[in-house]
Symmetry: none
Subunit: 192 residues, 4 copies
DNA sequence: AATGAATGAGGGTTCATTCAT
DNA sequence: GATGAATGAACCCTCATTCAT
């Protein structure tokens, strides 16, 4: 199923997509750096889009593993879970840049080919967070949410926004806030 | 300084950049729709990048006007100011499409030419928010921040993240949270 | 409207299409031989298909001129007209190879882009021939045709077939029949 | 000599070549539909060209059988033989799609590898028709031909032209002439 | 006898930019 | 100020063929 060549391509593609984005990474470039013929890329991946999708899938599975650990940890209360969830999510994503690329593709371009993939990811994440919120409600530590889904959407939106902001930092910001600090604002707000 | 031709180009470019993004908008396209020769674009704007920058600058000035009104409103306390700031910011940005394009370009592509532009915007925004935070501290309604800048960065990061998340909504989410709700989480957090 | 570059491209393209057919003539090749940049081809002709169409149109107009002369010659009776029509048609087409290319494109490929062009040509030719047949009927030299259109179609089909056969000759046949001889068969048949 | 795999390849190739032509049929496609590895095609057939040649040979043998029946029918005079020959030839060729592909390849492309194949077919056909013409001369029903070969070439050219014209019909012509009508023109001409 | 991985030249097309007028 | 012709590098993708297994 997976060959050395295929893996090599995937690895190189991952690096380049993560660095330059979808548009600015060319198949030529991937081929040259991977020391493979361009045709080989197309033997293993039907198109540039498919290759990109595969790259993202790979990285997402890693993220899921990490987050699942936290969600299933029975020693944590909802507040701690949420905080760790946020922190780990960001730290992992730090090493999985390509995931973010999907964000853009989905939004700014008309790349329908990403949609299915995003749906998977988003739904999975919503499940995890819902469980935490439910736990928080039972424990009485979270605000009561009349419609739990609306609350979730809002929260998820903020969390996803963080991704972008985080990667935006390096061009201009020196001392970037730690993820803990961010988590704190989300959990307790800015007011006393 | 500003001619009819120049304005026409700017207007058309704005529409197209907003709709298709930087990469997917070609100078050919702009020229054709503006009914100008391609050479004319280059007479007025040294490069595609310069044209894009000019387009965004135009839009940003509108956003600045709107936000300044709020920041200078002496009838509002910091909490209300912050809330209105967030809400108005989002509502305005909703119609400032090219600004968002910047966000993307800055993040995903290696467009160094965007940097200068973003710096302007970000610094301006930081100033405004700092004033609000200071006011909040004086009023005693905000948490004490040891290092006010770090707090600001964190907060700004979250606010900027909202932009993207907001525009991401339509493909999959039906009932999207109002900006008020988002502002509430940022101001008060999710816990009691 | 027509520039030197455009003409050069058209001329080279005509030669190559005529020699190697549509598929086997590449835009690279045309550009190289015309000593123009590939991009220039696309500046003047939106696509390979458009270029090809233009080439064919050019040659067809030449053919039309030649044939019109005969059809309007009042000194010829229908039989002579028909004979000359056939002979001139073939001689002209000999120097307008690309026309034939359309025949193939129309048939073997799904090149819808040729259809409109062919329709023009075919209808025009049908008009001319109908006039000759009518004249022949009035003169009493042609067989009576109950349905003149059916007769026309049959005849046109045979004439068009000649084109192909003619160009087929060179690979294997040495002494090829003159067009006069062909015309004779069509007019008088093979039997006494 | 012939294996199941070989046959399968041949059958699939025949369908695809007939449908899409030589150029537009890829070895990949053939391999996939035949459920064989691409390497297998090359084990059995040295090249794409060889495979194509083999496909056509197969079909031609069918055509030959049909036409031979007529030529050897001793109850027919030359005129009737000629007419039936034409009609049957066309009816059979209607289902011998790949043969027609040859016609095109020979004409429009520079496929020298087709030459040998075409020579076989053409020579065979010439033999058959020569016999008919000789018979016609002996019976006194055909015009005297000084050089019988030239007459033959002319006639064959017309017959071959029919092939193409026939298949050309569908795009624009509704009521297409029957083969009988065509044969009549060839045998008796258009004049009284 | 059969496979599937790998190749690389070539295909058509796009596009930001330059430049003579 | 304004034009449009011309450029050439880059892009994504196809495909006949080779070869080790």
């Amino acid at each position: 199923m997976s060959s050395k060549t295929r893996d090599k391509i995937l690895t190189v593609a991952s690096k380049l997509f993560g660095r330059y984005g979808f548009n600015k990474t060319s198949m030529d470039e991937i081929a040259k750096i991977a020391r493979k013929a361009k045709g080989s890329l197309y033997y293993h991946f039907h198109s540039k889009e498919v290759l990109f999708t595969e790259v993202v899938k790979r990285e997402m599975s890693h993220l899921k593993v990490e987050l699942t650990k936290i969600c299933q940890d029975e020693n944590l209360d909802a507040r701690e879970k949420l905080k760790q969830y946020i922190v780990v999510r960001m730290n992992t994503i730090e090493n999985a840049v390509n995931y973010n690329e999907t964000v853009r593709a989905d939004f700014f371009e008309h790349f329908d080919f990403i949609d299915e993939l995003r749906n998977d990811i988003d739904n999975w994440e919503k499940e995890q967070l819902r469980a935490i919120v439910v736990q928080g409600n039972e424990e009485g530590t979270f605000k009561e949410l009349k419609d739990i889904d609306v609350g979730l959407e809002t929260f998820i939106m903020l969390i996803k926004g963080m991704e972008l902001s985080y990667f935006l930092k390096d061009s201009r910001t020196q001392n970037y806030p730690s993820f803990e600090r961010v988590a704190d604002i989300l959990i307790y707000g800015v007011t006393r």
